[in-house]
Symmetry: C2
């Protein structure tokens, strides 16, 4: 196969899987510490507090994509993601469920939502995601959502490990994750079919792969920032959350 | 003084200085290791390689501000900064001088310029700076340049410490920094007068202070990423420069 030949869909799929195998943050030391029960409650608080900004920003990135999708079918599909995160006013969405987690960890909700204690590294990485989705093609924006191909594995590892290892978390605290186990595969089915179908040149396929690598790197960088600030050397930057 | 009273210019100045005293990256452990001679050549390479992206992005942020400045006087002042970094085709600018540093450290110039080995944390922090300057007010954009109030101190510490402690750097390798010792104060004189004069409400003065804090945090976050990847736990993310 020459370097500019279109990849068969199953080969594109295999290369996407390979990116996850190498770069998904399931391989990050902070993740191992988190689900392995090696973190203090304060360190888990720092994780939940920072990850809140990621959760809270997802609908902004999805809405900016929604605004650029060309058909009712595509927009309905993507609108569902916003409902999943923002809720419908009766059933809580992902953001509200994440705040149940930060509540359960004893963090003040106003403080979490204020973002005052956020690590700058978290902010920059999350904003990079929103900016990618705003500024790149619809194809790349949809491809960047494909980290959900790998998330059911990390979620089940995280939930079972955290329940086993921390007496300060409960199934109720971790209720965020349960619906994600069914939502994520549904989202992935759509996005994967889309990129397989719509990447019509090898250059576009390479854009798809690059978008997924970029997304992996921004999830990874969030854990780097947490690790540096709260594990080793455990030096939160001025202004950030101090346990 | 009530919380919404306009600060006298000297008080605004003092509060800007106080932000530097607390948050400038001269206090970061990576900086201490760097000028204290505690880093290996490979770690100094990683620093120079990553910092290249910051240097290379400065004219992009200055040009986006230039495009929004309203008068020839302001644009001439800001254009000078672009000349300082891009050179005039005869005298090398800051970017070219930075590449002399990476050359001197034995890094392949094509590799440096390709950004292939860049840490994602560097990219996100630097892009956050360019995005701030693009998206916020001219006042905030100019205020974000005020970290140069603090840079002559860090530059002289860095240069003398690195010359004393590393046999792989020379005055020629570090030639980037010499002109900055005169350029930075000139830039600061302008920017500081500007924000003192143009921040006409307390709310605008608070925006000035917030912009400087934001800028400090993105310089700090770049050293966090370097420290995590190359010092402790010394785990560069997939795809990043490996010595």
């Amino acid at each position: 196969m020459t370097d500019d030949a279109l990849l068969p869909p199953e080969e594109l799929h295999a290369r996407l899987e390979a990116i996850g195998a190498e770069r998904y943050h399931v391989h990050h030391p902070f993740h191992h510490l988190l689900h392995g029960g090696k973190l203090s409650k304060a360190q888990v608080q720092a994780w939940a507090l920072n990850r809140y900004y990621y959760q809270a920003s997802i609908p902004a990135k999805d809405a900016s994509l929604l605004a650029r999708l060309p058909t009712p079918e595509l927009r309905r599909e993507w609108r569902r993601r916003i409902v999943d995160h923002d809720g419908d006013g009766t059933h809580p969405g992902g953001i509200e469920r994440w705040l149940k987690l930060t509540d359960g960890l004893g963090l003040d909700r106003d403080y979490v939502v204020s973002l005052e204690g956020l690590l700058p590294g978290t902010r920059f990485a999350v904003d990079a995601y929103v900016n990618l989705v705003r500024s790149r093609s619809v194809l790349e924006a949809i491809a960047s959502s494909l980290t959900e191909m790998f998330s059911p594995a990390i979620i089940s590892q995280r939930v079972s490990g955290m329940l086993r290892n921390y007496d300060f978390v409960s199934e109720e605290t971790l209720a965020y994750f349960t619906p994600r186990l069914t939502q994520a595969p549904q989202d992935v089915d759509f996005a994967l079919s889309y990129v397989k179908r719509e990447a019509r040149t090898r250059a576009e396929q390479e854009q798809v792969l690059a978008a997924l690598r970029f997304k992996c790197s921004l999830l990874w960088a969030q854990l780097d920032a947490l690790h540096f600030a709260y594990v080793e050397p455990a030096l939160p930057p001025p202004g950030a959350f101090r346990p």
